[in-house]
């Protein structure tokens, strides 16, 4: 550990000492816990693929990976950047459209075309980002909402190879795992792809959170004037934020379109946006673990509430309202606080 720090310190000293490498959270990584988590994540689908309920749980986990990537990158804009962009689902749809249309119309393998998804989404984000940067708060909401509505209109009434007569993209080539390994193991393969994408996105976003760039984003959010006076270029950093966030969102869009084999224009409707927003805010926005927790919760809760049948939505809405009232900063800060207090209590008892 000591060696590690000296090596990296010398690397940084040669440029300029902007960040104490050893102070980063990566110096405190609990490798055992991480290892166990990875082994469980890798082994779990092999167990679950054996029975029907397990395969459904796998499907839920694949959805969790997809929406987890989207909410984490949205949290980067909303929570860390403080920019009220409502175009995240539109960027997601653009990713799906780009990869889906290219693989369907040109016959390109989905493994190649999926890389077009993040690129297309990033370009779109730069196009929206440029005018949005002039605006503030609620006006960014309007501009991004207008963009999403324009896209929705295009995706329902546009040319047939995009809108499919109002049904959206259908019969998009899938990644083809089912044909190779059957339904159960095929889904396990999809799970592994989703897990890989989720882990890459999560790692990159984690590093951004604990980097000078992430600090600049937060500085711009908390006091733009002060941040600018300390040399943070708002234009460059906000554009970077838009691009970073769009990249992973687009990738998730590309993944889901090749998992489902279709993309309905209905995903551009407002309820999905609100659902994703609820995930970010419930978990605790601006925190790293918040969106992950919120996504897991809102992916599982609707299935749990299936038990109460017709009262499912009612229970869902009540839960949402109650969490908002009793944990207004999100669940993650509340849980972290509780764990910290428990640990303190535990330590006190040990000392006595």
């Amino acid at each position: 550990m000591i060696q590690d720090t000296t090596v990296t310190e010398s690397r940084f000293n040669s440029i300029s000492k902007r960040l104490d490498w050893a102070a980063g959270p990566w110096a405190r990584t609990n490798w055992v816990a991480l290892g166990i988590a990875i082994v469980v994540a890798l082994a779990l689908p092999l167990v679950l693929a054996g029975f029907a309920t397990g395969r459904f749980i796998l499907h839920l986990m694949i959805l969790f990976f997809t929406w987890g990537i989207v909410t984490q990158s949205w949290n980067l804009i909303l929570g860390v950047g403080g920019i009220f962009s409502f175009a995240q689902v539109a960027l997601f749809a653009i990713g799906g459209l780009a990869s889906g249309v290219v693989s369907q119309q040109l016959g390109v393998s989905p493994f190649l075309s999926i890389w077009l998804a993040p690129i297309a989404a990033t370009i779109a984000a730069l196009v929206i980002g440029l005018p949005s940067l002039r605006l503030r708060g609620p006006y960014v909401v309007l501009l991004t909402l207008a963009f999403a509505e324009l896209l929705r209109n295009f995706a329902t009434q546009g040319p047939a190879w995009i809108a499919g007569g109002g049904y959206g993209l259908r019969y998009v080539p899938k990644l083809g795992f089912e044909e190779m390994w059957g339904t159960g193991m095929g889904r396990v393969a999809y799970y592994y792809v989703g897990l890989l994408l989720f882990m890459i996105a999560t790692y990159v976003i984690w590093r951004i959170f604990h980097s000078p760039v992430g600090m600049s984003f937060r500085a711009l959010r908390d006091s733009e004037t002060y941040a600018i006076s300390r040399g943070v270029d708002p234009f460059r950093f906000k554009l970077l934020l838009f691009a970073l966030s769009a990249f992973f969102t687009g990738l998730a869009g590309g993944y889901l379109v090749h998992y489902n084999g279709a993309q309905s224009p209905a995903i551009l409707n407002f309820p999905l946006t609100i659902n994703l927003l609820a995930m970010v805010v419930l978990g605790g926005w601006g925190t790293f673990w918040g969106p992950i927790l919120g996504t897991a919760l809102l992916t599982v809760l609707p299935e749990v509430f299936r038990a109460v049948d017709v009262y499912r939505n009612l229970a869902m809405g009540l839960t949402l309202a109650l969490i908002a009232v009793f944990a207004p900063q999100g669940l993650f800060p509340l849980i972290a606080d509780g764990v910290r207090k428990l640990l303190q209590l535990f330590r006190k008892q040990q000392e006595e």
Partner: protein
């Protein structure tokens, strides 16, 4: 020439509808700095209660409409007292209040679904029939909507400028801390604002349920449109919102009449994007006012 009159009539009709919906959103934003995403479900409450009173209890039109408005206002009051008032002054008020209203909206909409079932309902118009002038078919119901919207908007602006409570609302919107120091009960003011806003949403629901269909999620599209109008007019500005409602209504109607219905929405949003790039704080925006 007929097309021109058609567009003007349609524009004023749309503008009235948007105005009724948007004014409530803007009042709540002005006083509480909160995005009320349950506004659409309050619209639905108004519509359903009026429908029940009219069709099941066989009440005359006017009392049943009043019942719809009162019911929506009561539900808005309940949301305010049970959820929002508990969040006031917390550091993450904006987000938490928004999610709380989303939860309330889901609860209301699923309750309506449980009570009334998924089948869509339609209310009979107040005055059925239509007449034709200058080549435009004008339905009496359309005229009722236009007149009712105009009357309630005028009454609202009188209330805001002349009455004690209206002045309190304005004071709280402009400077909450100063208003509190002057002895204005802010929580009571917030509650009044919410009830008025909900009542107006209910009124929109009552009037529109005879034009559009009534379903548990029917309030959603009017709410999104109202959101656009509110932000376009400059959030929190009552005058700006009323202007924006009619400007957007007329624009939509003109696009529909001259370019076809498919162009109305994209044209509208394209126009809005351009306007925002030219005027970044909306039509009558308050500029860089920040509440610290």
């Amino acid at each position: 020439m007929e097309k021109l009159f058609q567009a003007i009539y349609g524009g004023i009709l749309y503008g009235s509808i948007y105005g009724l919906m948007a004014i409530g959103l803007t009042l709540v934003w002005g006083a509480l700095r909160m995005l009320n995403l349950a506004h659409g479900s309050l619209y639905v409450v108004g519509g359903y209660v009026a429908w029940t009173a009219l069709n099941e209890w066989a009440l005359p039109a006017l009392p049943s409409f009043a019942l719809g408005v009162i019911a929506a206002a009561l539900v808005g009051l309940l949301i305010q007292v049970l959820l929002i008032n508990r969040l006031l002054g917390r550091p993450s008020f904006f987000n938490a209040a928004m999610i709380a209203t989303v939860g309330a909206a889901i609860v209301i909409e699923s309750a309506m679904l449980l009570i009334y079932g998924p089948r869509v309902k339609q209310m009979a118009p107040v005055i059925p029939g239509h007449f034709k002038t200058l080549g435009v078919v004008i339905q009496y119901q359309g005229l009722v909507i236009i007149v009712a919207a105009a009357i309630s908007l005028v009454l609202l602006s009188l209330f805001l400028r002349k009455s004690r409570y209206g002045l309190a609302i304005q004071a709280v919107s402009q400077q909450m801390d100063a208003a509190r120091l002057m002895g204005i009960p802010t929580v009571l003011t917030f509650t009044i604002v919410m009830a008025i806003s909900a009542g107006l949403a209910g009124l929109a629901g009552v009037l529109l349920s005879s034009v559009f269909y009534l379903a548990p999620t029917a309030g959603f599209n009017p709410m999104v449109k109202a959101l656009v109008v509110t932000i376009f007019g400059g959030l929190g500005s009552v005058k700006g919102t009323i202007w924006a409602a009619y400007v957007i209504g007329l624009l939509e109607a003109f696009l529909q009449v001259y370019f076809g219905a498919g162009w109305a929405l994209p044209g509208l949003f394209l126009f809005m994007m351009i306007m925002l790039i030219i005027r970044p704080t909306g039509l009558f925006g308050m500029g860089e006012v920040q509440r610290l």
